[in-house]
Symmetry: C2
Subunit: 204 residues, 2 copies
């Protein structure tokens, strides 16, 4: 079931990547294995060679999608330890939403909505993705506390959870309205809450 040769490994990866793309376009239920195979230049029996069934493939897609979303922010995450870096992170997220024409929200949340109630394994994978995301934010805030930018008594775990929620909700609203400003306003709310815990009062 797991590929033992390089050739097989590449085949499997091609299939997962194609599946992720098709799922992003057509939704999980709307994604046919025929189309996945066509894009990966692989036939359906290859898919069943590496995966038990469609659900198994979708689990792999969920993992790949989580990784992709987090990887896309790796550079930004590194900057989260300062107020300036935090603001830059929000700016980058809004810019991304502008580029996409405010279409399509968070890929992780999309999969959750489509599969979360149907397949508990997938729900757990996506939940872990959110956890990692929140951890990065919390680590950044903790670094701001350590660096003296935030007051020591700040509850960074709560602030991180609340910030990720603002981000997710902002994405939902901007997708609904096709308006990136909805995300901007949501993130400004999160920033304002964090700002209320800053030490120096050198304007936000």
């Amino acid at each position: 079931m797991l590929p033992t040769t390089d050739r097989g490994r590449l085949s499997r990866e091609r299939i997962v990547a194609s599946a992720a793309a098709v799922v992003a376009e057509k939704g999980a239920l709307g994604a046919s294995l025929d189309e996945v195979g066509a894009r990966a230049t692989a036939s359906r029996s290859q898919i069943y060679h590496y995966f038990d069934d469609k659900s198994d493939l979708l689990r792999a897609v969920a993992e790949a999608t989580s990784d992709a979303v987090l990887d896309g922010q790796r550079v930004l995450f590194a900057e989260l330890g300062t107020w300036v870096g935090l603001v830059r992170w929000t700016d980058a997220l809004v810019s991304l939403q502008v580029e996409r024409g405010a279409a399509g929200g968070c890929p992780i949340a999309n999969l959750l909505g489509q599969l979360g109630e149907r397949d508990d394994d997938i729900r757990v994978v996506l939940s872990a993705g959110f956890d990692r995301w929140e951890d990065h934010i919390r680590d950044g805030l903790a670094a701001m506390v350590a660096g003296g930018e935030l007051r020591p008594e700040s509850d960074v775990a709560w602030l991180a959870a609340s910030t990720l929620a603002s981000l997710q909700g902002g994405l939902v609203l901007s997708q609904a309205r096709r308006d990136p400003q909805a995300l901007r306003r949501a993130l400004d709310g999160a920033l304002a809450l964090i700002a209320s815990h800053r030490t120096a009062v050198e304007t936000a």
Copy 2:
């Protein structure tokens, strides 16, 4: 296409209600017209008597769902004009999520994720639902300003948008984690932001 008799009106309503239930359970794509008909004690030709096709029915479901979600909060909305009422509203939302075992997020957001990118009419209907929701929050905050509970210069439109985003994001995270506390933390963030605009400092 639109029913002209009472009997037809009831049939149509039964169909929409059943469709909304099936869609909530199985998702929009997973909902078959056979099952909708079976639950509504109506055959498929009845469905096609009132709706052009499945998309047309789903549009009606989107409207019904928006109305149902907003209606379910009508009593709470009336209380939003005071800090106490605002807190009660958040408590009720968290309680609801506890009752549901933190399963299934916001029905409007779920439909958006499944159909928003596929059918623009539906996206607009759901977006309007969010608008009405945000309007109720904004009106409540404006009443708090008028009542002297919030400082006059408070940007209630922004606070309302940010609060709805926290709510939506909190629902996403609580659904992913099967943990209503994620919603609690998100809403506490929104409350803290609003609290920072209060006049009297009589503890939050």
